[in-house]
């Protein structure tokens, strides 16, 4: 009986979240007095997982799995969980993991808790803390089934290095018909995505138009951050919907969220409340975002942001 964790990779390379869920799995395995088995699909160097507490890696290598497919991937994980007799299965909160998780829950007849932000407060009953009401509250949730499925919120647990060696084993599951075929993917491969980002720089209507986004992108580049926007900005077509954060957009659980020219509507705040540190730059000192922020600058974004970029460049140069 081990804890099973799905460690996502892209073009053979593990995502940062793979190491985060591995770290989380290690903590759960320690609580349960057991080991961690990771499932790595078409990953180049699975031994890296040993640095984050993984004891064994099931290496799945199959060109049919090059493109993500929720049903097929869920079935691979189901077969791995059954092989390992896993009682706890852990995935990340990426779009792909959240896509496959409910299918996996049905396959394993596992109770499923998503958006989990901490290790179990108890393993019997198995109780986890998760966000609810779009980050306006936390719910202590028990999972009552024999097999438990947990999706960990991004950046909630962080990376915990450990000095272990992961043994490797080839695993060749049976692949079912998928029923859904990817025709095309439209993705900027050189940009940090909101889901993976530790820092997000977000712009609102205060930027006055899409032509002014250059400084948002430059600030994001200096910080190694993802760019995002408020709902009115995506509704106006200044930025793509995939950058819209908020209740009906993407949730952001970054370590640092910088909001520029965003007043802070309740729906926007609900989407970013899981972020740890919030900085707001706005001309309006009465903007509701200042009540939710940790640090604020009352000032004109067109004057503040270019200066901040220069200050950060100087800071980075000194590091």
């Amino acid at each position: 009986m081990s804890v099973l964790v799905y460690t996502e990779s892209e073009q053979g390379k593990f995502k940062k979240t793979a190491f985060e869920v591995a770290s989380y799995a290690k903590a759960v395995a320690t609580q349960l007095g057991t080991t961690v088995t990771a499932v790595a699909i078409n990953a180049n160097d699975a031994s890296a997982l040993g640095n984050y507490g993984v004891d064994k890696v099931l290496n799945v290598s199959n060109s049919q799995l090059d493109a993500f497919n929720a049903k097929t991937y869920a079935d691979v994980l189901k077969q791995a969980a059954e092989k390992e007799n896993a009682k706890v299965v852990i995935v990340s909160s990426s779009a792909d993991s959240k896509y496959l998780a409910p299918l996996l829950a049905v396959g394993l007849n596992a109770g499923f808790a998503s958006n989990v932000v901490d290790v179990p407060s108890s393993t019997s009953p198995f109780t986890v803390k998760r966000t609810a009401f779009t980050n306006k509250a936390f719910s202590m949730t028990t999972i009552d089934t024999d097999v438990k499925l947990v999706a960990v919120s991004n950046n909630a647990f962080g990376l915990v290095e450990s000095s272990g060696n992961a043994s490797a084993e080839d695993f060749s599951p049976t692949l079912p018909e998928s029923g859904v075929t990817v025709q095309s993917v439209d993705k900027a491969t050189d940009k940090v995505t909101i889901a993976d980002a530790e820092i997000v720089v977000s712009g609102g209507r205060g930027l006055k138009g899409p032509e002014n986004w250059g400084m948002i992108e430059e600030l994001a580049e200096v910080l190694g951050a993802a760019t995002a926007c408020s709902k009115p900005v995506s509704d106006l077509g200044w930025r793509p919907h995939s950058e819209h954060v908020g209740q009906t957009g993407k949730p952001v659980a970054a370590n640092l969220y910088i909001a520029i020219g965003i007043s802070g509507a309740i729906q926007h705040l609900a989407g970013i409340n899981a972020s740890k540190v919030k900085v707001v730059i706005n001309t309006d000192a009465e903007a509701p975002f200042f009540k939710a922020a940790d640090y604020g600058v009352v000032g004109d974004a067109f004057e503040v942001v270019p200066q901040l970029i220069e200050k950060l460049k100087a800071f980075k140069a000194q590091q």
Partner: protein, 248 residues
């Protein structure tokens, strides 16, 4: 095409969230309930299919009689009939099992559910429903076209989007993008009058236990006051982010 739209009855987005019974239950006192925003995009897309391609559209909710005004609103927007599964919604798995019975009994070709509800945010019902009914499934769906039994969907992925081909029967987890927000419909007086006469069927639940339980709730720790930094002293902001917050 026979479409079922799953409607979650959720607190209005601006609701204050409070709990009762020693923080074990959501306090519905004074809360206005609405159609879950992600479901509303799906319902409007279903209306598009009805008007452009001749589909029938039913709506369903798992819940007590108190959810009927939300179902009536969906009827006023244009759904043909409504089904209420007469049991409290306990968790995603239990709700999905109730919905699966409705889907199987109704022989639906396309089921549209919001990618997640804005109350418990589980994001599990559409996928579980697909798994339980052995239908194809597309999550985070931002566009859907159906031609006969073939469907083409666009779904949002981290950092972009992808287009997929699939076939009916199909379940989608829908969201903003399925239709523009400006296309969302507000019930007009005629729709409200007509909705009163449309069938709202109450069906009894199947035997299904919840697999998870929310045993207690807590609210985030109240935040301290914002630390304001002068726009003329941005070195201080960099210093605070590095030394105090330790995020850069």
């Amino acid at each position: 095409m026979k479409i079922l739209v799953c409607i979650s009855h959720v607190p209005d987005t601006t609701s204050k969230i409070n709990f009762t019974d020693d923080n074990s239950k959501f306090d519905t006192n004074g809360v206005q309930f609405v159609i879950n925003p992600n479901d509303e995009f799906g319902l409007t897309r279903a209306m598009w299919f009805k008007e452009k391609q001749g589909a029938s559209v039913d709506v369903v909710n798992v819940g007590g009689a108190e959810t009927e005004p939300t179902l009536r609103k969906a009827l006023a927007i244009g759904a043909d009939s409504a089904i209420r599964v007469n049991t409290a919604a306990l968790d995603g798995f239990q709700v999905a099992k109730q919905l699966a019975k409705v889907v199987q009994d109704g022989g639906y070709d396309l089921v549209i559910a919001g990618r997640e509800s804005i109350d418990y945010n589980g994001g599990m019902v559409p996928g579980m429903l697909a798994g339980l009914t052995n239908a194809n499934f597309v999550n985070n769906c931002i566009n859907l076209e159906v031609d006969g039994t073939n469907a083409t969907a666009v779904r949002e992925i981290d950092g972009g989007k992808e287009t997929v081909a699939t076939t009916l029967p199909l379940v989608i987890g829908g969201q903003k993008g399925l239709v523009e927000e400006s296309d969302l419909r507000i019930p007009n007086m005629r729709g409200i009058m007509m909705a009163r006469k449309k069938p709202l069927t109450v069906v009894e639940p199947v035997d299904a236990n919840a697999e998870t339980s929310a045993v207690a709730f807590e609210k985030p720790t109240p935040k301290g006051a914002v630390t304001l930094v002068s726009p003329d002293n941005l070195d201080e902001l960099v210093n605070l982010l590095h030394n105090e917050a330790k995020v850069i």
